[in-house]
């Protein structure tokens, strides 16, 4: 009979109306600033650089692989050099333009030194469109503890790997 389909549909919606008062499954909104979802461990947002002891001594050796492989080319690295102009194995500047970065995580994958990882931080709103979203080395560097905190599984694995490497006399050569 004409009209029963409509009535059936209306039954569904009114069921949902009442269910929204009783079941969490039917009121899925998370009231964001007050409530937050727990981040998944593998969640990736923007990259950051890891240092072990001091920010002056990051794991990054300025090999430029991530900059080359970055699909939107948002990473710019300048290699540091000593007084005679001999290149050093650390970046003089390391810039990531967060307004270009597309969170793909390829930099993390290709980095041979496990120096760059994807962060969980997502509240990055800024007033300036260009300079404010251009993250320099000082803002990108975060301690290994931060990495351990946000991604414990990966951190343990990588720490073990690095520890195994430092046992060996010759450290891996960059580039």
């Amino acid at each position: 009979m004409f009209g029963f389909g409509v009535l059936k549909g209306m039954l569904v919606t009114i069921q949902n109306f009442f269910a929204s008062y009783f079941s969490k499954d039917h009121l899925t909104t998370v009231q964001y600033p007050e409530e937050r979802l727990s981040a998944k461990e593998r969640y990736r947002n923007f990259p950051f650089l890891v240092y072990d002891q001091a920010p002056e001594d990051p794991r990054c050796v300025a090999c430029d692989i991530c900059a080359k492989e970055c699909p939107p080319k948002c990473i710019t690295i300048v290699r540091d050099s000593d007084a005679e102009g001999k290149p050093l194995k650390r970046p003089k500047s390391f810039d990531i333009d967060y307004s270009i970065c597309m969170n793909c995580g390829i930099c993390e994958e290709v980095c041979p030194f496990d120096a760059i990882f994807m962060d969980h931080e997502f509240e990055l709103a800024e007033y300036g469109r260009f300079e404010d979203l251009m993250y320099h080395k000082d803002r990108l560097l975060k301690p290994n503890d931060h990495f351990k905190k946000i991604r414990p599984t990966d951190a343990t694995r990588i720490d073990a790997k690095l520890a195994a490497k430092t046992q060996k006399p010759a450290p891996p050569v960059g580039n």
């Binding site: 009979m1 209306m10 929204s20 039917h26």
Partner: protein
């Protein structure tokens, strides 16, 4: 309690009568009624928007507005401030005069019809002897202003919306008027007050066979008259952007919105008056009964909005002309039979007529109806 507002007004008038001449008292009496309506209408509209957003929100498994004030109660005020401070944009090619006039004028009939709504015993602004007709007449004038707005915007989407609006109003006006006729026949008066009084003691017209059909018809055509889902073609968002109010912003848009919501309230109030016994009901004061009934109908409208997709133009017309109109006519016949026979027999006879009418119309419309389909799978 029942006469709370009536007594309030009365005591104010007696108080004023102590030191004012008679004509001033009458003026005050009129002003009180007018002010009450002029305040009640827009406030109703403001909180109806909130109610709709909350209700539809819950239907859609979300909270709805809950940030401005406790439970979002201040949301309508925030919206009002936003609307008032918004830039008023008038398209370059628009007819400025008509573009300005339409939203202003559309509120007038919406407010005027409040005058004949009997909110409770003795609580009607004007007991016109032609109450229902007054309501029907004024609500039909809304079309003109919608059409003026559509034309004045000089926008093709607006124009399409305006044309749809006119076509829709013209079609639904007829079954709407015809669906009230049975009640007028039984009561013998156009007066809304008389109609309510005829339904005292649980003699609600909706409880009769013709009344049930009439109620459904009147409510559906009423929903169509105020352009709400599933009959919201004039502003059909997904097709013609926003229809006749595409080019309106700020307060002018808010006025259209206000007219729409006030119209939905009055149509609900009138439907409850005509078929659901108006302010009649046990225990509670009359005005509360009317509000409960009207809000129940408004919630049904919102429920429609939360559930149903919209008709297409030709289907809308087909529904009105091929189904609602003949049913309304047959319903009048059923009411006539009801009047002609004595109590127990007339129930049976009019029920049979109504059932037959539904049956015939169902089979007559069968070829145009959508059919269920059976699907098969590809053989490997």
């Amino acid at each position: 309690m029942d006469q709370l507002f009536v007594n309030l007004k009365h005591s104010i008038l007696i108080f004023a009568g102590n030191f004012l001449p008679e004509w001033a008292v009458i003026l005050i009496s009129i002003l009180i009624s007018v002010t009450a309506i002029a305040v009640f209408g827009p406030v109703t509209m403001m909180y109806l928007t909130l109610l709709e957003r909350k209700f539809v929100g819950r239907i859609q498994n979300r909270f709805g507005p809950n940030r401005v004030g406790k439970w979002g109660l201040l949301q309508p005020l925030a919206d009002g401030v936003k609307m008032l401070t918004k830039e008023d944009i008038v398209p370059k090619g628009a007819d400025h005069f008509a573009h300005f006039l339409a939203p202003v004028a559309i509120v007038i009939p919406a407010l005027l019809v409040f005058a004949v709504v009997p909110f409770g015993r003795n609580m009607v602004a004007v007991d016109l002897s032609i109450g229902i007709l007054f309501f029907l007449a004024l609500s039909s004038t809304t079309t003109i202003w919608i059409f003026v707005a559509a034309w004045a915007s000089r926008n093709k989407f607006s124009l399409l919306g305006g044309l749809r609006s006119v076509a829709q109003m013209v079609s639904y006006e007829i079954p709407m008027v015809l669906s009230v006729v049975p009640v007028l026949m039984v009561v013998g008066s156009f007066s809304t007050v008389a109609i309510v009084e005829a339904q005292s003691g649980w003699n609600w017209f909706v409880l009769t066979p013709w009344g049930l059909i009439g109620f459904v018809l009147f409510f559906l055509t009423g929903v169509a008259e105020v352009n709400r889902t599933p009959f919201d073609l004039p502003e059909g968002e997904s097709e013609i952007v926003a229809g006749f109010h595409t080019e309106y912003s700020g307060m002018k848009f808010a006025l259209f919105y206000m007219a729409e919501f006030m119209n939905s309230f009055t149509i609900s109030a009138i439907v409850s008056t005509v078929y659901l016994g108006g302010w009649q009901g046990p225990w509670l004061p009359g005005w509360l009964w009317l509000l409960i009934k009207s809000y129940a109908l408004i919630l049904v409208m919102m429920w429609f909005r939360g559930t149903l997709p919209r008709f297409r133009v030709d289907q809308l017309m087909g529904f009105a002309w091929k189904f609602l109109l003949p049913l309304a006519l047959l319903n009048i016949f059923a009411a006539g039979v009801w009047l002609a026979f004595a109590r127990p027999v007339n129930y049976l006879l009019s029920a049979i007529i109504v059932a037959l009418a539904l049956f015939i119309l169902y089979f007559a419309n069968r070829p145009d109806m959508p059919k269920k389909r059976v699907y098969r799978y590809a053989v490997e």
